[in-house]
């Protein structure tokens, strides 16, 4: 019986831990997509953030790692914005190029820094911060109140993003740019600047998401370590209906699906574990199939501002 509770508590803690980078990246992508830009480059921003976190943390501790990750993620997003928002290139292709480019770039930098072996790389990480008293709550305590600071930040970002989008003029301008670039422009919104900022902010958050992988979960960097989490984040945005609260729920759902896979693996069934690895992705497909018919994306999503 105690075993069962312990297993469940472990599952919940793992779910929240796994959800954290997804939530950060998806919140960033929500901001970007609300502004009308779909950035497939966030997978690349995450990967760059992960490597920057590793390098920064080795050099100056976890906080330097976080700062470096923010900058790396934002920089890649800025390149994406330059190409897609300003030059008007196809967002899907530009984003894919950024992601593929980041795979190559991070690989090259990683080898230059740590050599081809790369083994034994160990990085100062962020320790979980326990909230006094609350962390002692059975079952949920560990999941909710004994997490690294990045998790608390990610959760706090949810109401903050909601507030920005729906209670400030900047948020209204951002949503307007996403629904109708022409209309926003006629209303005096600087559409390109607005979209660029949204994309860069989204990239910075994706970089941070990459950093949490390294600094709060794995404790090391390996090539292609993001393994599609950026794309999952984009699916989470759709599943969460472009709403910060929905995104939180969807991210936790994915976290839970992934954690469930750990539980299954740990329980030692005869089923090949690769099947369990599929679980979150299969759930993503099912969720999207159920959700998509009922949701409406920002109307000008993916469309560059026309010149006239």
């Amino acid at each position: 019986m105690t075993d069962g509770i312990e297993l469940l508590a472990g599952f919940l803690a793992a779910a929240v831990r796994v959800a954290t980078p997804l939530l950060l990246a998806a919140t960033g992508e929500t901001i970007s997509e609300r502004g009308g830009v779909i950035n497939l480059g966030i997978e690349g921003s995450m990967l760059a953030g992960a490597l920057a976190a590793a390098i920064g943390s080795s050099a100056g501790g976890p906080w330097s790692g976080l700062a470096a990750a923010l900058i790396a993620g934002a920089t890649l997003a800025a390149v994406f914005a330059l190409v897609s928002v300003h030059a008007g290139a196809d967002q899907i292709i530009a984003g894919t190029a950024i992601t593929l480019g980041a795979v190559g770039l991070t690989g090259a930098v990683y080898r230059a820094y740590y050599g081809t072996a790369g083994a034994g790389l160990s990085i100062p990480t962020l320790a979980p911060v326990e909230v006094p008293v609350l962390a002692e709550i059975p079952l949920l305590g560990a999941a909710l109140f004994a997490q690294p600071l990045t998790t608390y930040f990610a959760v706090a970002l949810v109401p903050a993003t909601w507030w920005y989008l729906f209670r400030t003029r900047g948020g209204l301008a951002l949503r307007a740019a996403g629904e109708s670039a022409d209309g926003a422009r006629a209303a005096g919104v600087r559409v390109r600047a607005t979209r660029t900022l949204a994309v860069v902010a989204g990239g910075a958050l994706a970089g941070l998401a990459g950093a949490t992988l390294v600094l709060a979960q794995v404790g090391t960097f390996s090539e292609r370590m993001t393994a599609g989490r950026g794309f999952i984040a984009i699916a989470i945005v759709v599943l969460g209906r472009w709403h910060p609260g929905g995104v939180l729920v969807a991210a936790l759902f994915f976290g839970a699906a992934t954690a469930l896979q750990f539980v299954f693996q740990a329980s030692g069934t005869a089923v090949p574990y690769q099947l369990f690895l599929m679980l979150p992705y299969v759930l993503a497909l099912l969720g999207l199939a159920g959700a998509v018919g009922r949701v409406r994306a920002p109307r000008d999503l993916g469309r560059p501002e026309r010149a006239s």
């Binding site: 003029r169 629904e179 022409d182 209303a187 005096g188 006239s308």
Partner: protein, 485 residues
């Protein structure tokens, strides 16, 4: 007796709880150009769409050439020889003119052959067009010409047109109507939906007037008068007379808009749209810009509104400036957003409920509800999506928002496009009121009648140059617009 080309009788159509048509009828003879008139929402477009197979009537027989017809789709309509020309072009922008026509007419796609057939067709009808141009690159008048050619290439003998002259300059409109009456004259039939009385009475041989989904008048255009027709459209009251043009210009004050030697680049493209423009507008003055598409008026309006940075020259505009853009559905409003959100977005610092970077939606909604009431808009409330409003109400919202800022300058592009007579009169009244209060109004209209009715002073833009006509004279202004005077 030859049966009519097209006859619809006792047509009913409801959308949910709204009745669009209540026993409407239309009879069009062969050889006739028939004008279908009515206010916005009178049901004229719906009736046309039923004849064209885009909507199905809830009840009521349709006969084509005397035979009972079932029209379930545009395809059925085409088979019966009915061609429809929509208000908004339906061509595929990335295909050429010839390809678009071949696609609609079901021709074999054989580039040289379709090119030849298009040239032949356009020559025979007197509607010249370059078959190799991409449809998306055509100016609006040619886009519309392409729509007509598509219908005729599909062997239409009954041509239905929804507001065909709304987007055309006066001379282009006359030309089009001449071609259409010519087409009808050789044994075909044409139906034109319009709300322009003058045009209907001069071009059509017969008119049908709808009001609230029912026929209020069927008559010959030579026996009906603008007065009798507008009474039928509006139900008794008749056309609201444009109040006598009376300038409120305040000559003692410095101009609210002053341009000198102003050059403005073409919006979004290379080249210069406006060169050496000089213009000043006094507080309280209403200046109308007459121009055909692409004469530089768009850039003029947008430069004054502060949306385009001029290349060089003097541009002084008193602030705040309110801008009423040409297309309320793409620029004036953001349709997926609510009325209150649109209100705040368009008003910037002066928006109700805005304090610095924050928005209080409670205050914004209250102010929006107030405007809805004051401007007599039909809307579910401030939280309703802008896209759910009718065209007239959308334009009222755009205007209400512009006026709510107490602007010193209003810049308006085609402020009454697509509005019915009553709504247009309301827009004019509001603009005059603003001028009487000392606001300078600069507006452009493609409708010469509107320019003459509303403006204190007319300026013609042609080929990027601004000129003032010597007299307020339709013909002179019309010729100046196309650079012929």
């Amino acid at each position: 007796m030859i049966p009519p080309a097209l006859q619809l009788r006792n047509i009913h159509k409801r959308y949910g709880s709204t009745t669009a048509l209540a026993g409407a009828a239309l009879a069009v003879e062969w050889g006739e150009t028939h004008a279908l008139l009515g206010e916005n929402g009178a049901g004229k477009s719906t009736l046309l769409r039923i004849a064209g197979g885009l909507e199905r009537a809830d009840g009521g027989p349709i006969e084509v050439g005397g035979g009972r017809a079932v029209i379930r789709s545009p395809r059925d309509a085409r088979r019966l020889g009915i061609g429809m020309v929509h208000q908004h072009p339906t061509s595929i922008p990335s295909l050429t003119v010839a390809e678009n026509i071949a696609l609609t007419a079901g021709w074999r796609v054989q580039p040289r052959e379709i090119r030849g057939r298009v040239l032949e067709l356009s020559g025979a009808l007197g509607l010249p067009i370059d078959p190799d141009s991409y449809a998306g690159r055509l100016p609006i008048a040619l886009k519309q010409r392409l729509e007509i050619l598509k219908a005729l290439a599909a062997r239409a003998r009954i041509l239905l047109l929804d507001e065909p002259t709304a987007v055309l300059a006066p001379l282009e409109a006359e030309e089009l109507l001449r071609v259409l009456t010519g087409f009808a004259g050789v044994g075909n039939a044409v139906v034109i939906v319009t709300h322009k009385l003058r045009e209907a009475l001069s071009a059509a041989s017969r008119v049908t007037v709808l009001r609230h989904g029912a026929v209020t008048l069927v008559g010959n255009s030579d026996t009906e008068t603008p007065d009798s027709v507008s009474r039928a459209m509006l139900g008794g009251a008749g056309r609201p007379e444009p109040s006598a043009t009376r300038s409120d210009a305040r000559t003692s004050e410095p101009p609210a808009i002053r341009l000198q030697a102003l050059d403005v680049a073409r919006d979004g493209r290379y080249g210069i749209a406006l060169r050496g423009a000089a213009l000043s507008v006094l507080p309280g003055e209403i200046v109308g810009i007459a121009a055909v598409e692409g004469a530089g008026q768009r850039e003029l309006m947008r430069a004054v509104a502060g949306l385009i940075e001029p290349l060089r020259g003097v541009l002084e505009v008193r602030q705040p400036v309110a801008f009423v853009p040409e297309d309320r559905t793409t620029e004036g409003l953001i349709l997926p957003l609510s009325l209150a959100e649109n209100m705040v977005l368009g008003m910037g610092e002066q928006a109700p409920g805005v304090a610095g970077a924050l928005v209080s939606w409670k205050a914004a909604s209250a102010a929006t509800a107030d405007l809805i009431a004051r401007f007599g808009m039909t809307a579910a409330g401030p939280e309703a999506q802008a896209g759910t409003l009718s065209g007239g109400n959308q334009q009222k919202l755009v205007l209400a928002r512009a006026l709510a800022r107490n602007p010193k300058v209003i810049v308006a592009e085609n402020p009454t496009r697509g509005l019915d007579v009553a709504a247009a009169a309301e827009v004019h009244r509001r603009l005059r009121e603003a001028a009487a209060g000392g606001t300078a109004v600069l507006f452009h209209s493609s409708d010469l009648d509107e320019l003459l009715a509303l403006s204190d002073r007319l300026v013609v833009a042609s080929g990027g140059v601004l000129r003032e006509p010597e007299r307020r004279d339709r013909d002179l202004v019309g010729r100046m617009m196309i650079g012929a005077a």
